[in-house]
């Protein structure tokens, strides 16, 4: 009886000890995965990369490159911006960045008055350096420190040359851009025109369209009606390539057409892989990101003052559908 009693107690003690220890290890484990406080004002340099097209493959790469470079330079960098070319949001973000007194702004150039006003007046007022990336706005209009990205004129030339190489020197080429063309589009178009104008047998049909999918499709339809014998398409706003191809596909086969665009569109790479596009002009987004941070830091640290206002150009190349180099 006594032994039984003691035995039961000992067994209970063992069970409760186990439960207590198990519970204690759980309860007393420190849950300090909360970020540590920084009570002192750390004077690390804060940079902002602002784009209108967050979460697109192209701009993600730019952001990655910039972040990598920022880490290397030991500065803080955040990628801000708006989604889907929302200009109001984009400008607001820009203004917030300026009022937040960041140490430098890397921005996708936007060729409109508000943007120029912000960079020229506000940013300059607070003494914040602005660098444009991928899409440039002329220095006279924006007072940007420099531009990092592709030479859009040359990019246009490369696309045109590729077109001639594949299509030959005769044909009608439809060129689709924005109604109000941004500076980079103008450059691209200038490049294309520069090449194609040398071939008298090539006819260029240049058309702008509004910034909505339906509008792009409508314009494409209209163009195809107007120029039924067109043999090539070039979308100088890469985002229009998708709706354009969709519209073409609805009417006829896509294969016979020579369709080209640039890689900074939402679906450019995917369309190329599907074989819808004959070629895209590939840029170096990551290099743009890292290069822009590098240049901005050079300016901030006073290493290179002033920066080359003509810009620091990154490589471009044509990528064919089969993946073969032109």
């Amino acid at each position: 009886m006594r032994k039984k009693f003691v035995f039961i107690l000992v067994v209970l003690i063992m069970i409760f000890s186990y439960l207590t220890i198990a519970s204690a290890t759980k309860a007393l484990r420190s849950t300090s995965d909360r970020p540590a406080n920084l009570p002192f004002v750390s004077d690390t340099i804060r940079l902002v990369l602002i784009t209108q097209e967050l979460d697109t493959p192209f701009w993600n790469k730019v952001g990655q490159g910039a972040l990598k470079q920022a880490q290397k330079e030991n500065v803080q960098l955040e990628v801000w911006g708006s989604y889907g070319n929302n200009q109001d949001d984009f400008l607001k973000t820009m203004e917030v960045a300026i009022h937040s007194k960041v140490d430098g702004i890397i921005v996708q150039g936007l060729d409109n008055e508000e943007f120029k006003e912000l960079t020229k007046v506000k940013a300059a007022f607070y003494g914040i350096p602005v660098i444009t990336v991928a899409n440039d706005v002329p220095v006279e209009e924006s007072l940007r420190k420099t531009y990092v990205g592709s030479d859009q004129f040359e990019a246009g030339e490369m696309v045109a040359r590729q077109l001639i190489k594949e299509m030959g020197t005769t044909g009608e080429v439809i060129i689709l851009g924005d109604q109000e063309q941004a500076y980079y589009q103008k450059e691209r178009l200038a490049g294309i025109e520069d090449v194609l104008s040398k071939y008298p047998d090539i006819e260029m049909i240049i058309r702008g369209t509004a910034d909505a999918k339906e509008q792009v499709m409508a314009t494409t339809q209209q163009l195809m009606n107007e120029v039924p014998r067109a043999s090539a398409f070039i979308a100088i706003n890469a985002n229009y390539a998708g709706p354009m191809i969709q519209e073409i596909g609805r009417r006829t086969q896509v294969e016979p057409y020579y369709i080209y665009t640039f890689d900074d569109g939402v679906g450019s790479t995917a369309l190329l892989e599907q074989g819808m596009l004959d070629g895209i002009l590939a840029q170096k987004p990551e290099e743009m990101g890292s290069e822009s941070v590098k240049r901005l830091m050079q300016w901030i640290s006073g290493e290179t003052v002033p920066l080359d206002s003509n810009g620091y150009l990154t490589e471009t190349r044509m990528v064919k559908a089969e993946g073969e180099e032109p």
Partner: protein, 487 residues
């Protein structure tokens, strides 16, 4: 020594200590969790304060622009002070995750203050357009601040999500831990109390058992209590008492034995006295008569008869006097000779008495009437029944520390069984002894007198005579005890 009181004190203190430690630990952890959640709440409250303060500035600025009075200006200044204080608070909220945003946030507040100041400045210079522009900008900045507050809060929630859930889980675990701990302590306490009570009751139980045994008269069982408290002390004392009682009992038993022996010797003495008295009815009359007879015989010329009567008288006197005291061997020998004189007169030639006495041994003390009954036995058994009579040898000699007295006859002897019966006193002495003292009486008195057994041996076989040997220590201490025991 560990007293029971001390034991109780220790048990209670240990329990209290453990309870205290657990209570403190639990309170500590609870407090920590509470502090953490307070901290979190405070963060959110502070950020919210920024929004409120910035909106307050805008309201005040608007009031001022509409109605530029000193009072309104003061209000603006006041709200600027408030927002600066809040800004200071917000600075402390920076951590690794949100450093960038919070720094931006702080600068936004700076911008707001600067813009508001500029607006006031323009207003003072009556540049309405400038001040309105700045006011609009300040308004926008205030809006950005609100938005940013939300952004930061949102991010805070996201990054700290796991942490918060950790806190909730931890507090739940803490609750569980409390329950398990309570149960564990309860069971441990039960066990400890059980052992503790056992350590007190077990010795008491042992002691009770020992007391029971003692009360039933078992004094030789040792009392053993394995503990180190008062009960062990009690048990030890109890054991000592037991030993003492045991000793006393043994002593009493020895005394009783002694008493018994004394009683026996007294009884023997009484018996012999009784016997002698029975045989000596009016011994003085007999004695006087014998003396008269002796003289008459002498006057009548019968000298031999006169001597015989004197011997009888001497024997009678000795008998009267010496029965209850020790005498020397010499006196015994004299009486023996007197007795033999009488027997010779009776048996004439039929009785041959030969004695061989070492005179140096005659001072030895000996109980009275020791030898006479034995000689008488010899006469009765070896001379009386024989037609031709017989011989009795009487020898006293020295053998080391012993004096050997031998009485030998030439009678028929006796069987071994009879010899043993005689020594053990199973044969009732037959009538006819002159002194009324039997062989057995002699043996016992010798034993009592010297305190040594087997002083008398019989050497006999049928048809070969009997030899009784008495050996007595020659140097017997002249203590008082013999006198005492014979008085």
């Amino acid at each position: 020594m560990m007293t029971i009181q001390k034991k109780i004190w220790i048990l209670v203190s240990v329990v209290l200590l453990i309870m205290g430690i657990i209570w403190l630990a639990l309170t500590h952890y609870n407090q920590k969790t509470q502090e953490q959640s307070n901290d979190i709440l405070q963060r959110y409250l502070r950020m919210n304060e920024v929004t409120t303060a910035s909106q307050q500035i805008i309201t005040n600025l608007n009031n001022y622009l509409l109605e530029p009075t000193a009072n309104h200006k003061q209000q603006i200044e006041k709200s600027i002070v408030v927002i600066e204080a809040v800004q200071q608070d917000v600075t402390e909220l920076r951590n690794v995750e949100n450093a960038f945003s919070v720094t931006n946030y702080i600068h936004l507040i700076d911008s707001l203050i600067e813009t508001a100041n500029r607006s006031v400045m323009f207003s003072e210079k009556h540049e309405i357009e400038g001040s309105t522009n700045e006011f609009n900008e300040a308004n926008r900045i205030s809006m950005y601040i609100s938005e940013m507050t939300l952004t930061i809060l949102d991010r805070e929630l996201k990054t700290s999500n796991r942490f918060y859930r950790g806190i909730i889980k931890q507090s739940e675990e803490l609750k569980k831990l409390g329950i398990w701990l309570l149960l564990l302590i309860t069971v441990v306490l039960l066990l400890a109390t059980y052992w503790f009570s056992l350590s007190i009751t077990r010795p008491i139980h042992q002691l009770t058992k020992a007391a029971n045994a003692l009360s039933q008269g078992r004094f030789n069982q040792q009392i053993e209590v394995k503990s180190n408290d008062e009960i062990a002390f009690l048990a030890q004392t109890f054991d000592e008492m037991r030993i003492n009682i045991n000793d006393l009992i043994v002593e009493i038993q020895q005394k009783a034995q002694l008493e018994h022996e004394l009683q026996q010797s007294k009884l023997l003495l009484k018996e012999s006295q009784f016997r002698s008295l029975q045989n000596q009815i009016n011994p003085h009359f007999l004695f006087n008569t014998l003396n008269t007879l002796s003289k008459k015989a002498y006057l009548d010329g019968a000298e031999e008869t006169s001597d015989l009567i004197v011997s009888v008288a001497g024997l009678l006197r000795y008998n009267l006097k010496r029965i209850d005291r020790s005498v020397t061997l010499f006196e015994e020998v004299v009486v023996l000779n007197q007795y033999m004189e009488i027997q010779k007169a009776r048996f004439t030639d039929r009785l041959q008495f030969k004695s061989d006495i070492d005179k140096s041994c005659l001072d030895v003390k000996i109980p009275g009437l020791t030898l006479q009954p034995i000689i008488e036995n010899a006469v009765i058994h070896a001379i009386e029944p024989e037609q031709d009579g017989g011989t009795i040898w009487f020898r006293i000699k020295k053998d080391g520390p012993w004096v050997i007295i031998e009485i030998e006859d030439s009678g028929q002897g006796m069987s071994r069984e009879k010899m043993e019966q005689l020594l053990k006193g199973h044969i009732v002495p037959i009538e006819g002894h002159s002194t009324g003292i039997g062989f057995q009486n002699v043996v016992k008195r010798l034993h009592l007198f010297y305190g040594i057994e087997d002083l008398v041996t019989i050497d006999s076989s049928e048809g070969r005579g009997t030899k009784v040997v008495i050996q007595i220590p020659s140097a017997r201490e002249e203590g008082n005890d013999d006198e005492a025991s014979y008085r």
